[in-house]
Symmetry: C2
Subunit: 374 residues, 2 copies
């Protein structure tokens, strides 16, 4: 066992002194009949979601810093030209081929069998991994038919993958942005839109225009990246800030508190930086209030009238993919209720409620008169 | 020292096993040339704000439970008739006479010299303490000219005290509500309005009417109390929920995060219980959004334009009272800037800014482009 731990720590490239602390934050999970470990918390520079799968490491996707102001956030962060790409609103996925098998990992480092099925249907992955066996593709799963986060995109009917990074799976080192974009083009992988290369000293007016246009189309925002792909900075639209609050407050006791304060402050800084009139600021505030309170009211009503609440999702896929998804959600201890289950062109289309235990239980007991000592 | 500690623990009435834990959470403070201890956190049933002043204990004012729903919150909490009194929006004060000197303690257990001056001017306290030397008066300091929380009341020009409890200072035991009201009347002490005695099974419609009326007048809410004064339950108006958010978000990095989530949930439960129409719920949500975001925008703007922000307060009193207040705020490490200082009818009327260090520093650094990794 000790020798195995040493191997893992060498595999991760952490100093011996930090090895125990890192390794004890890995948790065991299973995929089919195989066991793997995933890191539940960022430790000593090893990202949350990092996976130890047999003798292979798949590094987690790094947390991207956010600025509250374009000016001087951008010039403070970048000391040279940077690329701007669209930030998409879906769920993060890493795709790697391990022992000949393509697997899709969620942000927190679980193999998601449904996503694994889906990416293998959408992308022709073997030619890429034949040429680049040690790489991982990092992307966003977007569209309305998603088991996790769903957001509509005009061009996506069901669930698509969009690649925004190619990294070495063991070190996590990214490709140069330009090389990555050409590589993805060469293999026919859809990519996040690039808005081009900018100079930190002159980028702000154009960035502001891009953010406003994305916001008008209810899109999420931008990720700015140094040309070597190593430094990344994000900035989001008001639509995204308020949209994620509405999403969180549909199940307020599950996601509410953590989501709340940072998004309000993003809105406040954006309003000031964009020089909003009092009337526009008031309109933003009113719309923010609706994004927060109306879903919360809906959740309380739903628990009162139906006894429980949760998130509704629709997914589409082969019968095997759908079965694998529900087996996976089961293993994750998520309770689901099927609301519709149809077969369309040989695919199953299933709408289900993912029960929100924290919200259902909290709302129930407060409705029953439990005192609220928060 | 050990014998002294033993005395304190006996004074507090805590079990020997808990004594160390309680005593180590007391902190030293000074008033004039005297030193006293106050408890910074509720421990083993001893309330935060409990004071050890020489050989005397002044128990803290207990935290009052809150219900999110009148029905069945009230019938769950009370098993017999209860009194309803108005909850006032100001700051909590306990008044006791120690070694012949009347002192006013804040919620957290500091002697506030300004409040001490003020209550001694407003109330004729010696006759009461001559007759009830071991009692403390618990009340709310209300009105616009307050160094801490200010809220307008039509009947209060400057800063008044309203008594809502009389307790034994060492045990914290309250008087029967009815006895306390008669006692305060007898000594001429202003009291929180009583709405009378109610039965838990039938109180809800009338309580709802009272809460709605208080809300329409921008007042805070009600405290319901068992007839013996021992069980207390509070419920607040939407005006109070939103008002305190507006207050907190004027200095968002000081008070924002903790204030936020609970008040949003109070609003959600109230909207559902009061059976609001979709239009009324939307109006509540929009007004909530304004209460949160507009003050936050104001704070960001103020830091950008003036370099700092804080809370503005106005106080009025004798020159000695005002000097004592600023000496006290200084000792509390609060930075203040005098904005106006006038003498009116022999009293000083001083408007000052209480600097909010957390908000000023955070907003400054985010405006300077520091990344926001919340």
């Amino acid at each position: 066992m000790l020798s195995h731990i040493m191997e893992n720590h060498e595999l991760l490239g952490v100093a011996p002194a930090a090895a125990d602390d890192v390794l004890e934050h890995f948790e065991r999970a299973t995929y089919g009949n195989r066991t793997y470990l995933h890191l539940t918390d960022t430790r000593h520079g090893i990202e949350r979601g990092t996976v130890l799968f047999g003798e292979t490491v798949v590094r987690g996707f790094p947390k991207i810093s956010r600025t509250l102001v374009l000016d001087p956030g951008i010039s403070q962060f970048f000391d040279g030209p940077f690329v701007v790409e669209e930030k998409l609103n879906g769920y993060n996925v890493r795709i790697a081929r391990l022992d000949g098998e393509v697997l899709a990992f969620t942000r927190s480092g679980y193999v998601c069998p449904f996503t694994t099925h889906t990416v293998s249907e959408r992308l022709d992955l073997d030619p890429f991994f034949d040429d680049h066996p040690e790489s991982m593709l990092c992307g966003e799963m977007i569209g309305p038919e998603s088991p996790y986060t769903d957001h509509d995109y005009p061009a996506v009917d069901s669930l698509d993958v969009s690649i925004f990074d190619v990294r070495h799976r063991r070190t996590g080192n990214p490709l140069l942005v330009d090389r990555r974009r050409r590589l993805c083009d060469a293999y026919g992988f859809p990519q996040a839109t690039s808005f081009g290369v900018f100079d930190p000293e002159t980028a702000v007016p154009e960035l502001r225009r891009i953010v406003e246009e994305l916001g008008n189309e209810d899109r999420e925002g931008v990720v700015m990246k140094s040309l070597d792909g190593r430094r990344q900075l994000k900035y989001t639209t008001s639509a995204a800030n308020q949209g994620s609050l509405a999403y969180a407050f549909a199940v307020p006791f599950d996601y509410g508190p953590d989501f709340l304060f940072p998004r309000i402050m993003r809105e406040a800084f954006q309003s000031v930086e964009f020089g909003e009139s009092d009337a526009a600021a008031r309109e933003r505030a009113r719309s923010l209030g609706e994004a927060i309170l109306l879903p919360a009211i809906g959740a309380v009503r739903e628990v009162r009238e139906e006894g429980s609440t949760g998130e509704e999702h629709t997914v589409r896929g082969s019968p095997e993919a759908i079965d694998a998804l529900f087996a996976h959600l089961d293993r994750m201890k998520l309770r689901t209720t099927i609301r519709r289950d149809e077969t369309v062109d040989g695919e199953r289309v299933v709408t289900f409620l993912k029960h929100s235990a924290a919200t259902t239980d909290s709302v129930k007991s407060y409705l029953a008169g439990q005192t609220f000592d928060a």
